[in-house]
Assembly symmetry: C2
Homo-oligomer: 160 residues x 2
Amino acid sequence: MSSNQQDQPTDLQENFTLRMRGLGTRTVVYQQNVAASLGLYNNDYLSVDILHEKGPITAGELSKLTGLATGSVTALIDRLEKNGFVRRENDPNDRRKVIIVPLYENKEEVSNTYHPLHTAMLKLASSYKVEELELITQFLDKASTILDEQIEHLNSTPRK
Amino acid sequence: MSSNQQDQPTDLQENFTLRMRGLGTRTVVYQQNVAASLGLYNNDYLSVDILHEKGPITAGELSKLTGLATGSVTALIDRLEKNGFVRRENDPNDRRKVIIVPLYENKEEVSNTYHPLHTAMLKLASSYKVEELELITQFLDKASTILDEQIEHLNSTPRK
């Protein structure tokens, strides 16, 4: 079986990549629907989500992580600040820097929107044995690392 | 351990949902970067992706799957048809219906853009034993079903 790594992918391996792609498409549609239900632009909502994961970051870092131009990110932060999703603050470690601090966990509407998905995912998680869930969680980490590398790669190649 | 399902989620279960969310954010950023590298709007690229998975569908079905208004979808199909990503055809099963047929697998630039991710995912797949990859593939299916349900749920609740 180990020769497989050099050979043609198995049906299971190809099937796996199809499922990953199917999950990816649904994820994008889901995010768009959540954004729309909150009355936010897709990129504004995506930024809220990135800030939730990363914690406070600079506008430059947000620009890099979203792939948006600096000017667009400035307008985006203005909109999010106006609607109470983020706050601009001086970086306590470097007063010359301004960081974007997420506030949205206080916003009940965001947690309410996420709540049904979170509950359904916890229910799915509880259907697995500890070792199985560990395997899946590690897999999710590896897949995330691959996507980070691919995003980096796409950002380093010239645009059309 | 089985009482867990009614009780507080374990750290592993909460960690799992965090990883799912992290993967989701990266998926959205990746899709945006792929769309940008192909010179397509996000929703245009998303539609190409949905058509790849579903095969030929009507404009009404595409509108439902993307969550976009009918008018936006008409303009979107016009753009994709103009750029050779899709073709409008009469449904062979019902001549009164027009279906959108994906053409983009012929477009080398799309497969080239996807190729590095596909290769990396196949490599990750080949690092797992058959039983492990089966477990992961089934998990991806279950997670996709949950997202389909959540999208349905979001679409059935009134927008802001």
